[in-house]
Amino acid sequence: MKHLYSAACALLVSSALFLTSCKEDKKLPVYGLRETKTIKNADGSAGVDTIYQTIPAFKLLNQDSVYITNDQFKGKIYIADFFFTSCTSICPIMHRNLKTIYDKFQDNPDVLFLSHTIDFKYDTPSVLKKYAKKLGVDGPKWQFVYGPKDTIYTLAEKSYLVAVMQDSTNRDGYVHQGFLVLIDKDKKIRGAYDGTNPEQVAQLMKDIPILLAEDHKADKK
């Protein structure tokens, strides 16, 4: 009987250990399209490699009227979204939530933020600058970018997988999804969270350190 008891105990302890060790190795999934490519291994044999969808090169004006490119995010993870400054519905909620994440990771130089305006008529860099200041995030860590309609809308739908459109029946003139998209160091999509949903925002808050840890592990290899 006593043996049985200690065996059960041991089982419990080891499964607990197992579970926690599993947690540490947790990896975020990779989203988007993927294709496979046959490659030649070093020994000459054929192998298969998976190519993941990545965010393509871009060049956009930011709130300081300076062009920024992917280089701004080199070696960093970032959270991207699509909004417009005169939006009266979901954007205030998205940015209220994103601001709490920004505040939490304020001192971590590896976490950046990128908001694209979909209002190509009105949201010029100076309007974006004013908006950023009023939100209380004036600085390079959170970039607000402006670009031609085609560029921004294609980026949204093809690259970040967020639906955006002009809609004259909507009182604000535009509709869009409120996703906060998490991008890793290799420009791959690692998560998309509804920025108006408190639970999903909390999940994003938890996933950021996981992604950061993953990147550190890869560095050591």
């Binding site: 005169s86 009266t88 205030p92 909620i93 209220r96 908006y131 009023k134 939100l135 209380g136």
Partner: protein, 139 residues
């Protein structure tokens, strides 16, 4: 034991008297408040926050009890017609733009009862009749 039962009985009678003494107005105010909270969550919370804290300098807080008291007669106009003239709340100037929410008088009354009795405000009832009168005086 007996004593505590007697005390309990006494207390519950007292509260019973207290509640039945509540005026009809108070009961109506509570109903307005509850409905007003739902309207607030639906139409206002995105900008003004769950606790009326506002959003940076983009939307002012609703916690300035002096401001809300002084401007009570204007609140219906602000909400119905929108607001873009600068406002000074807690000594800070806000130059934003609140959209016109074009609500019915009864909804205006309910949401105003909610905001003027939450977030530190305590202004009591605001009737639908009063709304109609105040709306006539919108600037």
């Amino acid at each position: 034991m007996r004593k505590s039962i007697i005390i309990l009985f006494f207390l519950s009678t007292l509260t019973g008297i207290f509640y039945s003494c509540q005026t009809a107005e108070r009961i109506q105010q509570d109903a307005y408040y509850v409905n007003g909270r739902d309207l607030y969550i639906k139409h206002c919370q995105n900008c003004h926050g769950a606790n009326g804290e506002g959003l940076g300098e983009l939307a002012p807080p609703l916690t300035d009890t002096v401001y809300l008291k002084q401007n009570k007669a204007q609140l219906a106009c602000f909400i119905k017609n929108g607001l873009s003239a600068p406002v000074t709340v807690h000594g800070k100037v806000y130059e934003g733009k609140m959209p016109d929410l074009n609500m019915a008088d009864i909804d205006l009354a309910q949401v105003i009862v909610y905001i003027t009795n939450s977030f530190g405000n305590k202004q009591g009832m605001y009737s639908t009749e009063q709304i109609a009168a105040d709306l006539k005086k919108c600037k």
